[in-house]
């Protein structure tokens, strides 16, 4: 019905929309500066962003939630009463999100199918949650459709996929040992589409919007690391950008949660901080309106933005500690070594006593001169 108008609205650029709302060029530049900051791009990129937004069009977004806890959606919607993020979100057409949309039941599924039809090959697919594939995928279904089937169906017509949260990106807690539902990340099911992984449990809301902003601005996906994560947010580790890093460099560590070091804000490495091996933007973007992040609150980084962080040993044991029980290996090793050593020693001793029995007695006759 209103789709003609809708089409028209989509046809105009973001800059036009802002101008239509009576926002000055200065305001637009401010918007661009905020967007650059949001995307963690250098302020030098502002002119390029401005140029791009002049021409950017409003994409359709379909959001699928699978085996998940809604934490990712919560993170996004409960972030700072969204402002710039909100502006960005206003620039997309969120056509299906089963937690956020008003429609339910068949109407909801219809909205999804319509959005797919109308934007075939152009819409953006956002996924949160892992996809269970064991036993034909029966462990999670929506409207009687298994998650795997729905993902495959929706992904087929998508321009790109954003896997939001560690579950969609890497399998997350569903994928943790023993993985009873055969949970899989999006990237293991869909292999023929560009996928951006915005990992984290939950992911940083501004990172989600930052990726959307990037897609919106440049109409392409940002540069990714080897795990498919946008480099602008995941290019440096928590440790690299941690304000406690100088304490690590000096060798000053908290050894318990209430010792002198903890009170003085020393490095949390010994308390199990996974910051050195965790790539995410928490240390600079921070949480709760940029207030703080776990390490600033005195808790070690769990490494939630990394694959299988649930299975990397205790959250409270240092990164340098092996993930398996080395003491046990050591004890069994000594035992096995003792048994084998005893056998080897017995062989050596018998060889030696045999040699003694075969002793060749040197006599004067052996001393004939050789020449």
């Amino acid at each position: 019905m209103g789709s003609a108008l809708e089409q028209n609205l989509r046809a105009i650029t973001i800059a036009d929309r802002l101008r239509a709302e009576g926002i000055s060029r200065r305001g637009f530049l401010k918007f661009c500066a905020s967007t650059a900051s949001l995307m963690a791009l250098s302020p030098a990129m502002v002119p390029a962003i401005a140029r791009a937004l002049e021409n950017a069009r409003r994409p359709s977004v379909i959001w699928l939630s699978f085996q998940e806890c809604t934490g990712c959606t919560e993170s996004l919607t409960r972030s700072h009463s969204p402002s710039i993020e909100n502006l960005i979100l206003e620039q997309v057409s969120l056509d299906y999100h089963h937690t956020l949309q008003a429609a339910s039941g068949e109407a909801a599924e219809l909205a999804r199918e319509m959005a797919m039809q109308e934007n075939q090959g152009k819409y953006l697919l956002v996924v949160d949650g892992s996809i269970p594939v064991k036993d034909g995928g029966v462990y999670s279904t929506i409207a009687g459709i298994t998650n795997v089937d729905m993902l495959n169906e929706v992904a087929a017509g998508a321009a790109a996929i954003i896997a939001v949260g560690s579950c969609a990106a890497f399998g997350g807690i569903g994928h943790a040992r023993p993985n009873p539902t055969g949970a899989m990340p999006v990237s293991e099911i869909v292999t023929d589409k560009p996928i951006v992984n915005v990992s984290g449990c939950p992911p940083i809301p501004t990172v989600i919007t930052g990726v959307l902003a990037h897609f919106l601005t440049f109409n392409k996906l940002p540069e990714l690391d080897e795990l498919g994560r946008p480099l602008t947010f995941f290019g440096q580790s928590i440790h690299d950008r941690c304000y406690r890093r100088p304490f690590y460099d000096k060798g000053l560590f908290a050894e318990s949660f209430d010792d002198e070091g903890a009170r003085k804000g020393w490095c949390l490495y010994r308390l199990g901080c996974k910051g050195p091996a965790t790539y995410n933007a928490c240390a600079t973007t921070k949480w709760n309106q940029g207030t703080s992040f776990p390490i600033e609150a005195g808790h070690p980084c769990l490494g939630c933005a990394e694959p299988d962080f649930w299975d990397m040993g205790s959250f409270y044991r240092a990164l340098s500690i092996p993930t398996e029980d080395t003491t046990r290996t050591l004890v069994y090793g000594v035992g096995t070594g003792a048994v084998l050593g005893a056998a080897a020693a017995a062989m050596a001793r018998s060889r030696k006593s045999k040699a003694k029995a075969l002793h060749y007695k040197v006599s004067v006759s052996d001393l004939e001169e050789s020449s």
Binding site: L340, A348, R351, Y360, V362, L367, E368
Partner: protein, 417 residues
Amino acid sequence: MSSSEDRAVNAFREQIDGPIASYLSSCVHCGLCAHACLFYTETEDPRYTPINKVEPLRRVWKSEYTFFGKLASMLGLAKKVTDDLLKEWEPLIYDACTLCGRCSMVCPVGNDISYMIRKTREGMVAAGYAPDGLKGATQRAVTIGSPMGVKFPALQVQIHNVEKETGLRVPVDVHGADYMALLSSMEIMNFPEYIGALVKIFDKAGVSWTLCSEAFEATNSGMQIGSSDLEGELLQRVVDGAESLGVKYVISPECGHAYYALRWEGPNVLGKKYPFQVIHILELLDQLRLKGKLKVEDKVDEKLTFHDPCQIVRKGGVVEEPRSLLSLVASDFVEMEDAGVMNWCCGAGGGVSANERAQPLKLAAFKRKKSQLEALGVGTMVTACANCRINMEEGLEENNMQIEVIGLTETLADHLA
């Protein structure tokens, strides 16, 4: 066990023990032992690096006494002991090692390398790989009784001369004497003054002693060539002589390896403890000095130094005694560099003196002693080993050095109060 290789390998198998296994496990090829060995320092031939000399022994240890070496040898990866190897190593083991033990003092991981070379010789001699000169000397020692072919009648002649000269009687075959003195054939033939010195000192000090007509030879070519069998055969004669005379002590003469063989290897080679004690002549003299039974009337005035015989000092533990005795008899005694347990070998021990093939190498090695002496500028060098003494006399002559070499015991006897 017909082949020579098999005989060598079997002997190595018999010799390898815990210490050797720990030594060979520890070597890191740091090369420091080379700089402790005068055959390397004076020739700079890296083949003379001490640890390299035990290669044949190492191969047997590696392939037969280590679990992983055994696995490797089952896969045909182990290096074998061959006749070629033994032949190649023979000069390294016999010509370029005096068993002086200096390398054993410096090895940073603690390897007693000279112990291992001594053990390696067991396999070498069993396989027939030993220098002809040393073979001949050992043969003479076993068949005639002395490496130089000295028999008792020859000693009797020297005894007669000494008695005439000193006017004192040399006791022979005295049952129930406290001490039985042994001699080295070099002392009998080249330095009979040693016998005179003993008579004079013991007479003054009232020591009850005797020579034994059945067992007067102290030297042991069996040890030098590395055969425990032959070493034991020679030692058994001493034990039998001492037992037949019922002495309490056997005195080792001023001869390094004789002392080492008698004092430290003997009971182990024979497999039983001695019914007597072995004492080095310098130990006995120092005991007499302490008891006030050894007094001198005057001292040697000229500047002199002391050469530490390896087997007596570093490997024998008689370190302070010669110095106490020298301070008694010398007024200007100076130590050479590295004196004491770190002193450098004369270059002729461990059977090298009996090995004609090693003569050029032995003279090259003497350069070390030469430079030590030149640094001191002494006219006299005292020592306590007939083998060192004869070698140094030869070396000094070769190098046109005017230094007199004297035995410590005779020096004391000459100045007896």
